[in-house]
Amino acid sequence: GESVGLHLPTLSVQEGDNSIINCAYSNSASDYFIWYKQESGKGPQFIIDIRSNMDKRQGQRVTVLLNKTVKHLSLQIAATQPGDSAVYFCAENGRGSSNTGKLIFGQGTTLQVKP
């Protein structure tokens, strides 16, 4: 079946350190992956996405890595700041290039940044 999961429910890091949030997916047909950040009381906010023809994509302070061989996705946050504290979700489209646009979400990892 289709599932997206995260390895750790909570990640605690020191301010200024780098954070790495991991995600495993099971559907090899997925060709679009995306990371969201959700703060308390708000909807998920888009961070970065990546297509299956890439293995790395960088944004501002964030990098997404995709390893299709082991079906693993990670989000790296450089110089983590208190404002990065939130729940992070990975998502996949689940059905490949003919997909309907529906995203399947993992359960989320809570990132706690210690000052």
Binding site: Y32, I34, Y36, G41, K42, G43, P44, Q45, F46, D49, R51, F89, A91, N93, N99, T100, G101, K102, L103, I104, F105, G106, Q107, G108
Partner: protein, 113 residues
Amino acid sequence: GAGVSQSPSNKVTEKGKDVELRCDPISGHTALYWYRQSLGQGLEFLIYFQGNSAPDKSGLPSDRFSAERTGGSVSTLTIQRTQQEDSAVYLCASSNGPGSPLHFGNGTRLTVT
């Protein structure tokens, strides 16, 4: 508007009552989605509208749930005869279509007493 707008932001209703939740997507976005998020959980897909195509209703948990999208813009999610297990945050999102990021509203927190 600048983002996806949902109303009401909070809704408390009695068990057995019907509720309607509204979503105004980003102007020009062709796709609209409804998800449900229970406390401390991930997002559960409910329904998806893409242009004039028939909606993907595969995530609706029961026939008490329905949604429509009028004029290709505003959408309403209706829950009939609400149950306590319907309590959750209902999130709406819109996008430019498959392969584009979803942009979420802040959700409607539904509490069924």
